[in-house]
């Protein structure tokens, strides 16, 4: 079932031919355009003068011609303006938060000029005005439901022990958490498996530490993160809902520097600096819970041994004016060991490793490419012994990816991008009970994707992004074509309307236990089930009366098909490993809602108010008697208020969250049956479940506060902080526990986290 047969080899050869032909086609089309240059071209990189980091979506304009010509840099900070008539121009490169660069150019016909610009960060204009660099401006203009956060912004939010990428996103409208201890993302009515999470373009399969308490993203190593909440463009694929793209810092090209911090549970350090014509960065974080737990542990007090760590490293080198290479790696692990007694223990280990090599090449001034080879590995091992009975669960995902992206700055109206992605997967799931191997699943599917999209400035006020993505997945010989469309129309100086939509497929399924993320694993869907499918549509209206304020209202609608859910009624030693045996299949669903977002972006007081009104539903023939039901994360109302106030060396932050209670399945009766194997009644009776998720927990709300003060520590910049999670100690409901041990027992409601004050210190040198 899982061996590579001759038919697989024939299919593989056919796919490789298709792959080569597609690359050739892209090169011919693009090369044909390139060969038609008849006027001048100006190209180059825009970087931050203080550290050499690239500036994505910086604005480049050539003034002085009949019509101003310009473009935006791509995500690597590269720009190209082509087909410039000969003449004199004023070259302007600008980026919010930086001093603009101006230069005079005299261009001859067919002249090709390379200008690499370093922009100086803008000093504060005044004590009460703080202007922040606004990255990804282009993407925000055209794409509804698109969020960007820079690393510095992450530090501003009240947090639980440490700043965390995924927890920060929970403060945004349309994004929810399952509980206080979970970093899982529930975006616009979708589950955590429907969001693609990338770190420097590599998927991370279980990006969590401490059983879901923290994400694996070290905020010190991060440059920025962007989230498409839905209807994402053709350059991404493989998930039904959203895409979170986290990019690590490249490292300071100008000087050596370091940052670090100590919180109540972990210490972290980031070092970076120049090397030759490039930079390096290394960032590590480790908890020091293990020595604390060891100190508590004694003969009468059993506590587990636990630690986690993560390490990010990056090396960037310029090989010339047209070539750059970079190498990056991520290494992270969690390890729990609990000796219950002489014959019983629990050992859980999980972690990710990802390494990447990337080559960036400027083929011609208007043609820019990135090519990457990456490998990643996720492993989760759980071994137990209960009274000398060994139990073992092992699962792993290894993948090798080859990826290429081309950006062609065809002319001021068209920026064309295209690319390919080839991933070879190796999945393994092994289960052994009492030294008897019950399951050893191995799958080796491959995924091949191509995409092409055009960012078209159809009119001075109209931008259209038209794209298409095709996927070929080996399991089941799937081939899908996914159209994508985004349209943005500037109605007036202050009003803009945006819409986007697309078709999406998902070939991998996450099996997760919400209370314990260490056991999460991904499996590919094979030929026995159709891959999940979603059709998404988003419409949004934005009002920006000034640089300080922005109000947006967005409405979304997603239809799901071919959803799967883990079949919990499978026998423990079942050798049936086909998808239609392991999963309940054929599910459908929808998610719809309206989001309102009011953002104050500048000034001493910044923040936002967000509100979402949403519905999400699922239907499976084999669940709930075939009746439609809300998943537990269906939250009718979701609101957040986030404020940050800076005065002098102090900053004060607060956030208030409110959400409708999660759905749960209540009990509707008590009954008793004999245990069939022994044919005797147990001491406990049973609770009869009512309709699935037909009841609601109480509404969730909490307030977090933080206060920070900047100061000097041994001549270096430092910042001390005090944070209070759940400041008014509301014990929000987590789940209802029915205990049938005692006929008189009332149900328990297990609560989430109480008030937790934390403090720590960050420093940089």
């Amino acid at each position: 079932m899982w061996t590579l047969s001759k038919s697989h080899l024939r299919e593989g050869s056919a796919r490789m031919r298709c792959f080569r032909e597609a690359i050739l086609a892209i090169a011919i089309v693009v090369g044909g355009w390139v060969g038609n240059v008849e006027a001048a071209t100006v190209s180059g990189f825009i970087t931050d003068a203080s550290n050499g980091e690239s500036l994505p979506y910086a604005n480049v304009v050539l003034e002085g011609g009949a019509v101003p010509m310009g473009t935006l840099t791509n995500v690597d900070g590269y720009f190209a303006v082509q087909k410039i008539p000969a003449g004199r121009y004023r070259f302007v490169a600008s980026y919010i938060g930086y001093r603009s660069y101006l230069d005079s150019l005299t261009l001859e016909a067919d002249e090709v000029i390379r200008i690499d610009v370093e922009l100086e960060p803008q000093a504060l204009l005044g004590a009460e005005v703080l202007v922040k660099a606004d990255a990804y401006e282009e993407e925000k203009l055209i794409q509804p439901g698109f969020i960007v956060m820079e690393a510095a912004t992450l530090e501003e939010f009240p947090a639980l022990f440490e700043s965390d990428v995924l927890r920060s996103l929970h403060l945004m409208p349309g994004i929810q958490a399952a509980s206080d201890i979970s970093t899982g993302l529930y975006v616009r009515g979708g589950g955590p498996d429907q969001t693609l999470i990338l770190l420097d373009q590599i998927p991370l399969y279980n990006p969590s530490h401490a059983f879901g308490f923290f994400s694996t993203f070290n905020s010190d190593a991060i440059k920025d993160m962007s989230l498409h909440k839905g209807a994402y463009p053709a350059s991404y694929g493989g998930r039904l809902g959203a895409v979170l793209d986290v990019r690590n810092r490249d490292g300071n090209r100008k000087e050596f520097q370091g940052t670090g911090g100590i919180s109540l549970i972990a210490a972290r350090m980031t070092l970076e600096g120049p090397v030759g014509k490039g930079s390096w960065m290394i960032s590590g974080r480790r908890t020091y819970l293990d020595p604390i737990l060891a100190a508590i542990r004694n003969d009468s007090t059993e506590v587990p041994a636990y630690y986690f760590y993560d390490l990010n490293a990056k090396l960037n080198l310029d090989l010339g004016a047209h070539d750059k290479v970079s190498f990056s790696g991520y290494f992270g692990r969690d390890d729990l060991n609990f000796d219950l007694d002489e014959t019983s223990f629990i050992n859980v280990r999980w972690g990710n490793v990802a390494v990447t090599g990337k080559w960036t090449h400027v083929f011609r001034p208007g043609l820019y490419g990135n090519f990457m080879v990456a490998g990643s590995q996720y492993e989760s091992d759980t071994s137990l012994s209960l009274f000398d009975t060994p139990i073992l669960f092992e699962n792993s995902i290894r993948d090798l990816t080859v990826k290429g992206d081309l950006d062609y700055f065809a002319n001021p109206k068209h920026s064309i991008s295209g690319g390919f992605l080839a991933t070879w997967y190796r999945f393994r799931f092994n289960q052994v009970f009492n030294q008897d191997e019950q399951l050893d699943l191995k799958e080796k599917p491959t995924l091949l994707s191509f995409y092409l999209q055009d960012n078209w400035q159809a009119h001075s006020n109209t931008q259209i992004r038209l794209g298409v993505r095709s996927n070929m997945f080996s399991d089941g010989s799937r081939f899908h074509v996914e159209p994508r469309l985004a349209i943005s129309q500037q109605l007036s100086d202050h009003w803009r309307v945006k819409t986007a939509g697309g078709l999406y497929h998902q070939y991998l399924q996450l099996v997760t236990t919400e209370g314990f993320s260490g056991g999460d694993f991904w499996v590919p869907l094979d030929e026995t089930v159709e891959p999940g499918r979603s059709v998404q549509g988003v419409v949004g209206l934005e009002w920006e009366p000034s640089p300080r304020y922005m109000l947006s209202v967005e409405s979304y609608l997603t239809g799901f098909k071919n959803l799967v859910a883990l079949d919990t009624k499978v026998a423990v030693d079942s050798e049936e490993t086909k998808s239609d045996d392991v999963f309940v299949t054929g599910g459908t669903g929808h998610a719809t809602g309206v989001e309102v977002f009011l953002n104050r972006r500048t000034g001493a007081l910044t923040g936002w108010i967000g509100y979402t009104l949403g519905w999400t539903r699922r239907t499976f023939d084999e669940l709930n008697g075939g009746k439609e039901f809300p998943p537990k994360y269906d939250r009718r109302h979701d609101a957040s208020v986030v404020l940050d106030y800076r005065v002098g060396k102090w900053s004060f932050g607060g956030s208030v969250l409110y959400a409708t209670g999660q759905a749960y399945t209540p009990a509707s009766a008590r009954y008793s049956l004999r245990s069939p194997g022994s044919q005797q009644y147990l001491k406990d009776d049973f609770l009869l479940p009512s309709q699935k998720n037909s009841a609601r927990l109480l509404p969730y709300h909490r307030m977090d506060l933080n206060v920070k003060r900047r100061f000097r520590l041994f001549g270096s910049r430092a910042e001390a902080y005090l944070q209070v999670f759940n400041a008014y100690n509301r014990r929000n409901e987590w789940f209802v526990q029915y205990n049938a041990d005692d006929p008189e027992t009332d149900p328990d409601v297990v609560k989430m986290l109480p008030v937790i004050p934390t403090f720590g210190i960050n420093f940089s040198f």
């Binding site: 014959t343 049956l673 406990d684």
Partner: protein
């Protein structure tokens, strides 16, 4: 001006916080945590065993989730109960000494690969069920394996060697945690198996001793237990030591299940115990009952058993 703005910020936060705090109590009445009551539904508990006489069966009813539960209180005493097969109907009568128990009024040995139909009626409620009994089943051998090498250390006596042989034979004296007990059989055409383990010696000493268990946990230990259902594709089953709590004589009953029993066992509330209620709400689902007009299990199995005597660890 800075102080004024700071005061404004603090006042805003305080007002908002006060508003929220004022409604922040999360204490709830138990009645708020239940769904609409499904009290008064017939609960059928009937298990046929191939080559054995028609069994006693039980008719109970559900009780509201917030009410106190007892077998006595849930028993249905006035049901009309019949089991039919091949045109023959066997009637049942209520056991006057045990509320809810019904006794067959005719002799009949349950046949393999035969359809039986159950009908129960009481106070305007009617519940029915159908089962196709499995083929006959026999354990081929009972073994003690070396846990390091998985080689056979001993071949244990079975009930074919005598009714007391499994308990008194020297080779059947097994020290707690020593070796792996395994039963081997010819896997037939059945969807799955379930094991029942019963400690026969009431009052025998407890051999289970763990630092992480307290007296309340030990008080909850029962002298009988059922395994989850399993498919046993290779025709063998190993007994995990964590299923053994007491010293003394033990009987292991291996049931080759019909569809109804297998479906119930793989979805039963016993398998949900230990899960979070709402957190793993996805697994808090109705079992696969095999009764129409009520809930419960009308199933059948072919059964064979082995025995051994557990000795306390030296």
């Amino acid at each position: 001006m800075v102080c004024a703005k700071l005061k404004g910020f603090a006042l805003s936060v305080a007002m908002l916080g006060s508003f929220l705090i004022s409604g922040c109590s999360t204490d709830r009445r138990a009645s708020e945590l239940y769904g609409p009551s499904e009290a008064g539904v017939l609960v059928i508990d009937a298990l046929l065993l191939v080559d054995q006489p028609l069994p006693d069966l039980f008719v109970l009813e559900t009780v509201a989730p917030g009410d106190s539960y007892s077998l006595e209180g849930a028993a249905v005493r006035d049901a009309v109960v019949e089991i039919s097969t091949g045109g023959t109907t066997f009637t049942y009568a209520a056991d006057v000494d045990s509320a809810g128990r019904y006794l067959p009024q005719q002799n009949h040995i349950v046949l393999p690969e035969t359809v039986y139909t159950l009908r129960v009626s009481s106070q305007g409620r009617e519940a029915t069920g159908t089962t196709l009994t499995p083929e006959q089943f026999q354990i081929r051998e009972s073994l003690l394996l070396n846990e390091g090498t998985l080689q056979v250390d001993r071949v244990l006596k079975t009930f074919r060697d005598g009714l007391d042989a499994p308990y008194v034979a020297p080779e059947n004296q097994v020290e707690y945690l020593d070796g792996l007990l395994e039963a081997r059989f010819d896997r037939g055409n059945t969807p799955g198996y379930q094991v029942g383990i019963i400690s026969l010696d009431e009052g025998s000493e407890r051999v289970l001793d763990a630092d992480f268990l307290d007296e309340d946990d030990y008080d909850d230990l029962e002298r009988h237990a059922s395994s989850p259902p399993f498919e046993a594709p290779d025709g063998s089953v190993r007994l995990p030591w964590f299923a053994v709590y007491f010293a003394g004589r033990h009987v292991i009953r291996i049931h080759a299940l019909d569809e109804n029993w297998f479906n119930f066992a793989r979805s039963s509330p016993e398998s949900q115990e230990g899960n979070f209620g709402g957190l793993a709400g996805d697994s808090f689902e109705r079992p696969l009952f095999s009764v129409t007009g009520g809930i419960g299990l009308f199933g059948s199995a072919a059964m064979d058993s082995i025995g051994f005597n557990v000795l306390p660890r030296q």
